[in-house]
């Protein structure tokens, strides 16, 4: 096969992959139609379990990284901005780069590495061991019980953890910089709060919601692509992580253009 043939084949594969993924997402989410008792007890217990695993258990790691990123990245940005333009553009830079950009992306990367891989492996192993089929025979819907709670939890976790990450990172960055470079942290934070309006909050929420949807759906999609061989589990896990990151940055790029 020549180079162009190879490129063409890759494009066709990518196109079919996106169609498959979209169909999977639509089919999974369609189980939550209007007449259904959304939070039936089995789904609810699965949802709670996932929320603890994806959200609560990640708080320590997120806090630690937020402090490090605040001191290492945000404080450097503040220093550079102070050196170049003085304090005038500081809040705009903080709002744009740290809160809207770094917070969601770093949280997304952590969730891809931590939860997306775990979900793909968990679902893959469950499928390989043949544990899903008997539940289907008892009338339990795979999408309803396995997929939707994981996606919903990923969305909730991404939104809340990104907000938490952004707040901690900004506070650490500002206070650390104020201590080192001797300027008023209170003033900077007040200015920053004043720049936050409904638009900024909406974009932040939509962006994180979308990130969570991508990460959760990608993890479940690849986890359930495992068929009968245990060797497929690490393969699909790897694909879930790599493609999760690719789609995360693509989505981030889209939001960057959208909010320019």
């Amino acid at each position: 096969m020549n180079f162009f043939g190879w490129i063409g084949q890759r494009f066709i594969e990518l196109f079919l992959y996106i169609i498959d993924f979209t169909c999977f997402l639509i089919q999974s989410l369609s189980v939550w139609h209007a007449q259904r008792n959304v939070f039936n007890k089995a789904v609810y217990s699965s949802l709670l379990g996932q929320l603890i695993f994806t959200g609560v258990d990640a708080i320590v790691m997120i806090s630690f990284l937020a402090v490090l990123a605040g001191i290492g990245v945000a404080s450097q940005l503040i220093y550079i901005m102070h050196a170049i333009t003085g304090a005038s553009d500081l809040t705009a830079i903080l709002a744009r780069l740290v809160v809207s950009e770094l917070g969601p992306v770093i949280t997304g990367v952590i969730l891809v590495g931590r939860s997306c891989s775990a979900i793909a492996v968990d679902l893959g192993n469950t499928k390989v061991r043949g544990e899903i089929e008997p539940l289907e025979y008892l009338g339990i819907d795979v999408d309803d019980y396995f997929v939707v709670p994981r996606i919903v939890c990923m969305i909730i976790s991404q939104v809340t953890l990104a907000l938490y990450f952004s707040i901690i990172m900004t506070l650490c960055g500002v206070f650390f910089s104020a201590y080192i470079y001797n300027f008023s942290a209170q003033e900077s934070l007040t200015q920053l709060l004043n720049t936050v309006d409904v638009n900024v909050v909406t974009v932040f929420m939509v962006k994180n919601l979308f990130f969570g949807l991508i990460i959760g759906a990608m993890a479940c999609f690849h986890g359930l692509l495992v068929e009968t061989s245990p060797t497929q589990v690490p393969q699909q896990m790897q694909k879930a992580v790599v493609r999760g990151l690719v789609f995360l940055f693509l989505a981030d790029g889209y939001f960057f253009l959208f909010t320019l």
């Binding site: 008792n37 039936n40 007890k41 089995a42 789904v43 217990s45 968990d122 469950t126 061991r129 043949g130 544990e131 089929e133 008997p134 539940l135 289907e136 025979y137 008892l138 009338g139 339990i140 819907d141 019980y145």
Partner: protein
């Protein structure tokens, strides 16, 4: 044929399952499965029997002919009606394990939590009562990986019975059990299938159980299907293929 009369839980009219990955021929099946009777599908090919069992259970659709479950054509049911129907049918798979990420009690509670709007406490109480009724001598909150094959089979049976189904499917219920454990499993099944229509495969792994409880034995091979009205008729069959199966 069966001496028990009444409205059939399942009726198959010249039904053949989809071939799927198997290259085996599937002869058309005509049968009635009546309430409070046990029907066992026997034959030389496990995959073939499984295909017929899943077709009768409404899990897969008949390629030809039709299958009625509780008077409803299985091929015409939409997703939601099928889910409702499935909640009335118990399915025990001896080869397919319990959900390993949930403990035993939760595995048993799961179908009830999913299909009925009961509280956690009510569901747990009901599951514990059933588990105790099945003589489980272990802590039900143990994870399946820490249980032996008989204990897992007990929990799988509890999971199949928790919805109090009137129709029960048993797929190789004696799989992976020793002789003593098969006997115990046979007794447990015997106690819990009295008022239910039961259809099973893998009965020849414990012939004493079939001898005691089977009112209908359906022999299925690549070339023919023969209905027998119980173990005795099956044993007395002069058919060459049946004899060959019994001699194994």
């Amino acid at each position: 044929m069966n001496t028990v009369t009444g409205k059939a839980c399942i009726q198959a009219y010249a039904a053949t399952p989809a071939a799927e990955e198997s290259a085996l021929q599937h002869p058309p099946l005509d049968c009635r499965i009546l309430p409070a009777t046990l029907t066992c599908l026997v034959g030389p090919h496990r995959l073939q029997l499984r295909a017929y069992l899943q077709m009768l259970a409404g899990i897969s659709k008949a390629e030809h002919g039709k299958v009625e479950i509780f008077g409803q054509l299985s091929s015409e049911l939409d997703k939601s009606s099928m889910r409702k129907l499935r909640s009335r049918i118990g399915y025990l798979s001896g080869t397919a394990p319990l959900l390993s990420v949930q403990h035993g009690l939760m595995n048993v509670m799961l179908p009830l939590l999913y299909h009925r709007n009961l509280s956690f406490r009510e569901t747990a109480d009901k599951a514990r009562a059933l588990i105790s009724d099945l003589n489980c001598d272990f802590e039900p909150t143990t994870f399946p990986a820490l249980l032996n094959s008989f204990q897992r089979s007990q929990l799988a049976l509890a999971r199949a019975l928790i919805m109090e189904p009137t129709l029960l499917f048993l797929e190789v219920p004696f799989h992976d059990l020793g002789a003593q454990q098969r006997e115990e499993m046979g007794k447990l099944l015997g106690n819990h299938i009295q008022h239910r229509a039961v259809c099973m495969i893998g009965g020849l792994q414990h012939t004493h159980f079939l001898e005691q409880y089977a009112q209908q034995i359906i022999f299925i091979s690549e070339h023919k299907i023969i209905n027998f009205s119980g173990w005795k008729a099956f044993m007395q069959s002069q058919d060459r293929e049946v004899k060959a199966l019994l001699s194994i």
